[in-house]
Every structure is written in structure tokens, then in C-alpha cells.
């Protein structure tokens, strides 16, 4: 598999681009048959960005002061209030104008914060464009004139992935980089009368994942540690792992509290796909755990990768999450899990 200039494999880039188009497929259409990937337009083998000219952005009120924007790219979370606007992720750069237009319908206050859940282009592509139209409140020792644009918050590993050592070409322009990174377990912001907790999820989808918990609104923006459209995409080259994803899903289950009858309560905005609550998350967590257990069992029996694939350990979930073709196929998912289970088995 060839690596691109950014160090990410071409397949994974294509996977993220294809995930980006989930929004296109989700725009009011009931997908049929075999999962997301089979029906997903190919974004182009040359790695060119998909044509998103005709993709609309839709706004879904979630609860409290939080909204979900659905279009191409990852879902964008918007929190609005008297102090301004906070966005979680910015989708592709091509979607920026449409996203800003929808945000302006929700609030005429400045965009103050952008939080990046991870460093993939379908989630941070609009950083530069959207931060430009926002503003940070400057002052104190920094000086009132120093900050320009919205503050971009992310785990430090996101900055590491988007930047490059001096003298080498960075994969993203400086203006798109996070301006406020954290290295601890979590970062806390109080904005629009609401505690916003940004929690690092180590070695999950990548090594820089954050989930964003809006405590008053009772909404969690999960990034790609939880999606409803595919089997988990494990970016192992960027520090991701199935074990980390499962750990993150279990944390989300702890944070989410349903209302009566296991419905609603805490809402979750997944990285891709539809709005969810704990029951939806639970099904996904169960699925990922069961598939992990099955493949682990086959690895422990000494099966080769081909034998594991032939055993169809994902059969009962393929119609919902699988893909026979496209950038992130069921076989690629099985292979990623197989390699991780083999590695774990070898360490024991």
C-alpha cells in the first residue's frame, strides 16, 4: 500500500473521503442492502477531493444549545449561546461556506472555538476557512490585538499529525493547525453557561481523538470513535486500535444516561451517521466487542488471516456496517482486527 505525502496510506485517505460522503447518502435517503461502502460514490483513486458542490448542509436541533450539521464529511456539532459559537469539527474545506451559512442562521454571534476530534481531513478540512471568520477574545498579557480567528482546540497529537518538523512540508497549512492543544486527560471550557469537557481517547480511531461532552445540554460529540455507518475504521498508522475504540465506547456508555424506557436522555452525535442515544451506542459497542471476541478466538486457534476471513466472523453485521468494495471493506476491518489480536496474542 502506497503512502501519501502526509504519511497516511492511500486506502485510509480514501476511507475518510468515503466516510465524508456518508452525509450525501444520508440526506433523506434510506440506504438499502449491503452497508455504506457499497453504495458510496468513489471519491477518485487519484486522491482528488470529492466534488461536493451539490451537497447541502442540514441542521438538526439536538437538545439544549446543541445542533448537529449533516452534509459531507464528518458531522459538525454546533453549540450556540450569548457568548458566541463553538464548533466541533469543520468537515471538508469545500463545505466551509455552507457550514458558516447554516451557523449564521442559528446565531449572529462570533465563532469563538473550534474543537477538532482528530486529524483526518473530513473533520479538520474547514479549520482554516472557518476559523478566519471567527474571533478569539484577546487581552491580558497576550494583548488585545494578538489573537485572530477562532481558537482551535485539539489534543496535541492532532497538531503533531497536521504539522511537520522544521524544514519539512507539513500536510496542512499553518492556519489550519490547532492553536490551543492539551496533553492531559481532558481539557475543560466553560462557554455559553455550559461546562464543555474535551476528553482525550488514547489509541482509539487515532492517537489524537477527543470526545466533547456538553454537560448542561447533555450531548456528546464523539468524533469517529463512534459512527453508525461502518465497522470502526482503525487508523493503526496513526496510533489507532480496536482496543482503544472499545475502551472509548465503554466510556461513552458510562457517560450517557438514558431517560425512562432507555430512550433519549444523553444524545450522541457520532462522527458519521445519524443522531443516537445510549441504546444505539450500546448496540454498536456490543457488535464491536462480539466481533473482537470472535476474531480473537480464531486467532488463538492458530487460524491464518484467510481462514479467519473464510469463517465470516462479521456475517451478522455486514448488511448493516459492511462493504464488499470501496475504501474500507469488511475484509480490511477483519484484517486490522486480526493483526491487532495477533499482536496482543504474541505479547502474552
Amino acid at each position: 500500500m502506497k503512502k501519501t505525502a502526509t504519511g497516511l496510506t492511500r486506502r485510509l485517505w480514501l476511507a475518510f473521503a468515503a466516510l465524508a460522503l456518508c452525509g450525501v447518502a444520508l440526506n433523506g435517503q434510506q440506504r438499502q442492502g449491503r452497508g455504506q461502502g457499497a453504495g458510496t460514490p468513489n471519491p477518485g483513486r487519484g486522491g482528488a477531493p470529492p466534488n461536493l458542490d451539490n451537497v447541502a448542509v442540514h441542521v438538526l436541533p439536538v437538545q439544549g444549545s446543541v445542533y448537529m450539521l449533516v452534509g459531507a464529511g464528518g458531522n459538525v456539532t454546533v453549540q450556540v449561546g450569548k457568548e458566541g459559537v463553538l464548533l466541533v469539527d469543520t468537515s471538508f474545506a469545500q463545505m466551509s461556506d455552507k457550514i458558516v451559512a447554516e451557523v449564521r442562521k442559528l446565531s449572529d454571534k462570533p465563532i469563538r472555538y473550534i474543537v477538532n476530534t482528530h486529524a483526518h481531513p473530513d473533520h479538520i478540512g474547514g479549520n482554516e476557512n472557518i476559523s478566519k471568520v471567527g474571533s478569539t477574545i484577546g487581552g491580558g498579557n497576550v494583548g488585545a490585538d494578538a489573537p485572530t480567528g477562532a481558537t482551535i482546540i485539539a489534543h496535541e497529537n492532532v497538531l503533531n499529525r497536521m504539522s511537520a518538523p522544521t524544514g519539512t512540508q507539513a500536510p496542512f497549512p499553518v492556519a489550519a493547525w490547532p492553536t490551543d492543544t492539551y496533553v492531559s486527560r481532558q481539557k475543560e471550557v466553560y462557554f455559553n453557561d455550559e461546562a464543555v469537557v474535551i476528553m482525550h481517547q488514547p489509541t482509539a480511531h487515532t492517537d489524537g481523538d477527543s470526545i466533547v461532552y456538553f454537560r448542561r445540554s447533555d450531548v456528546i460529540s464523539t468524533g469517529d470513535v463512534f459512527v453508525t455507518t461502518t465497522f470502526p475504521i482503525i487508523d493503526r498508522q496513526r496510533g489507532g486500535s480496536l482496543a482503544g475504540i472499545i475502551k472509548s465506547l465503554n466510556l461513552l456508555l458510562d457517560l450517557a444516561i438514558p431517560r425512562d424506557k432507555q430512550e433519549g436522555g444523553t444524545y450522541l452525535i457520532p462522527g458519521h451517521g445519524r443522531l443516537c442515544d445510549e441504546a444505539d451506542l450500546l448496540e454498536y459497542r456490543d457488535m464491536v466487542t462480539i466481533v473482537r471476541d470472535r476474531i480473537d478466538d480464531l486467532v488463538k486457534k492458530g487460524m491464518t488471516l484467510d481462514q479467519v476471513k473464510a469463517a465470516k466472523p462479521t456475517l451478522d453485521y455486514e448488511g448493516r456496517y459492511g462493504a464488499a468494495s470501496g475504501p474500507w471493506t469488511t475484509e480490511m476491518f477483519i484484517e486490522a482486527v486480526y493483526n491487532e489480536m495477533r499482536g496482543a496474542s504474541a505479547k502474552k
Binding site: 424506557k261 444524545y267 441504546a279
Partner: protein, 296 residues
């Protein structure tokens, strides 16, 4: 045109115009839109499928279910211990299964005061107390990216005296209480039919993920004006102290309970595995062939 023909033409014109103009914007005439009154307290009747609905189905009993291989594996892997996890304990039955359980039913209508039109029907069922709204005002179903719920999003229309309800946006659920799944991509179409004091519900599930063919079943109630449905609070508790993240399930090929059902009823194991063909009378011939002792 003679005078008589002119009168006939004029009368016909007036009649047709009246029919067109008198038709509400919703698409159904006022008379049609009334349907029959389904309101009331309805007590379930269990003469159909009683062993499945009350004591509960046996593990591995997929007889007569048009399930595919994916559903079969899912059900084979299902472990009832899953329901000991706190997050699973207070799940209500989804809209398509709820009428099958201990299903004392209340049906009531919501009337818009100004027009006296029925704008919605509501249902309440006893076990876990799920409530549904069936919108009668021709509103569209939400986009796919909207949340799915246990009861889904339902719209209804009258076909004569039959209330036809279409439901989308269901959460992942089940069509039998032994792990046979129904996906969140399924569509449910129901027909509520009242004959005097008897209510019949015909439900039709289309599931592109887990069914080979639509799954159709009927359920009945009798009017019971003295019925009072009790509240159904649910509080999840930790029943088994386990490490976080454990999900009870059977690995493929390890569920020994699957053998119990065919043994208990002396049914060929192959027949218990379900599939569309097991729904049809012709399958009896195949079943008889399975029963023949192997030639010596």
C-alpha cells in the same frame, strides 16, 4: 344540446365540482378520514402463538421465520445473559414486537378542536409502558439522520375502516425473544381492523438486513372497558458483577442450547433454522422427507 342534456350536464358538473372542492387538502375525504373509532381499553388474546408469546420461545426456534443467514448467526450467538447488563434491562419492546408481549393496549385519538379532525392516534402498552403516536396529518417522515426510537416514527391513513400505519426510524430490535434480530433499516406496515369488540392487528415487517421475505403476523385483542393498565417503572441494577466491557454471547459453534428445541419436539434440526421456505405449506413435504430414516 337539448334542455334535458344541459340539466344533466350541469348537475354532473356540480356533483364533480362538489366532490373535488369538498376534498380536504390532506388527500382523504372527511368521510374516509374518520374511519372507525378504535378508542378504548383492549385486553390481549393469546390464542395465536401462545407458546412463543407468553412462556417465550425456545432457544434456536426459528421455525416459520423468513430470516437469512446473518439473522441466524446473530440469534445463535445471542445469550440471554445479555439482559443482565444494566444498559439492556429497561429496554421496551420496539413497536413491532410490543403488541406480542403482555400487551394490554390503550388506544386513543387526538382531535384538533377547530376542525374536529383526528390528527393523531396514540397507543400505550402495558409491558414497559411504551407509547406511540401515529400522525394522521400527512406529515413526512424525518430524514435518515434523525434519531431512531423504540417506537419509530409512524404515520397513518384510513383505507375504508382499516387504519394503515407505516413506521420508520425504528431502533435495532428483535422479532422473537430468542435473539432473532430486526435491523434499524426495517419498515413496519400495520393494519388495525376492528370487528365489534375485537381488534385485529396485522403487522408486516420489511427488513433488508435480516429478512429474506417480509414477515407477517396477526395479533388480537378484545374490548375491555374495565381494564386499568398499571404503571411500569424500571430501574436498572447490576445483577452480575463483571469487569467493564463484557458482552455475554456464544461464539459461533459453541451454543449447545440450540440442540434442545429440535430434541424436545422431535423436529429435524434443519427445520428449526428458519428461512423463507419454512413459512409455506410446501415445506411440510420437505419436512416429511427429512423424517425418513436413512436407507440401509
Amino acid at each position: 344540446m337539448d334542455a334535458l342534456r344541459r340539466v344533466k350536464f350541469a348537475a354532473g358538473f356540480v356533483l364533480v365540482t362538489a366532490l373535488i372542492v369538498g376534498r380536504p387538502a390532506g388527500g382523504q375525504t372527511l368521510q374516509q378520514s374518520r374511519g372507525i373509532d378504535l378508542s378504548g381499553e383492549w385486553a390481549p388474546r393469546f390464542h395465536e402463538d401462545q407458546p412463543e408469546r407468553i412462556p417465550g420461545p425456545d432457544i434456536g426456534d426459528y421455525l416459520g421465520l423468513p430470516i437469512n443467514a446473518a439473522a441466524r448467526l446473530h440469534a445463535d450467538s445471542w445469550d440471554a445473559s445479555l439482559l443482565t447488563l444494566p444498559e439492556h434491562q429497561c429496554k421496551p419492546h420496539p413497536a413491532d414486537y410490543s403488541p406480542r408481549g403482555p400487551a394490554n393496549l390503550r388506544l386513543w385519538k387526538e382531535i384538533e378542536t377547530a376542525t374536529q379532525q383526528v390528527i393523531a392516534w396514540h397507543t400505550h402498552i402495558s409491558w414497559q409502558a411504551p407509547e406511540r403516536t401515529i400522525y394522521m396529518d400527512d406529515r413526512p417522515h424525518p430524514p435518515e439522520y434523525a434519531a431512531h426510537t423504540w417506537q419509530g416514527f409512524s404515520t397513518g391513513k384510513w383505507e375504508g375502516d382499516v387504519l394503515v400505519v407505516t413506521t420508520t426510524h425504528l431502533k435495532m430490535g428483535w422479532i422473537r425473544r430468542n435473539g432473532v434480530p430486526r435491523s434499524d433499516r426495517a419498515t413496519l406496515v400495520e393494519r388495525f381492523i376492528r370487528h365489534g369488540d375485537v381488534l385485529t392487528l396485522i403487522s408486516w415487517i420489511n427488513d433488508p438486513i435480516y429478512l429474506e421475505e417480509p414477515f407477517v403476523r396477526t395479533t388480537n385483542w378484545a374490548l375491555d372497558p374495565r381494564q386499568n393498565i398499571a404503571a411500569y417503572p424500571c430501574q436498572a441494577v447490576v445483577e452480575v458483577d463483571r469487569p467493564q466491557g463484557i458482552v455475554p454471547h456464544h461464539l459461533p459453534g459453541t451454543n449447545t442450547f440450540l440442540n434442545e428445541f429440535p430434541t424436545k419436539f422431535n423436529i429435524p434440526a434443519e427445520a428449526t433454522r428458519g428461512g423463507a421456505e419454512t413459512m409455506y405449506p410446501e415445506y411440510i413435504l420437505k419436512l416429511q422427507a427429512m423424517r425418513k430414516p436413512a436407507a440401509k
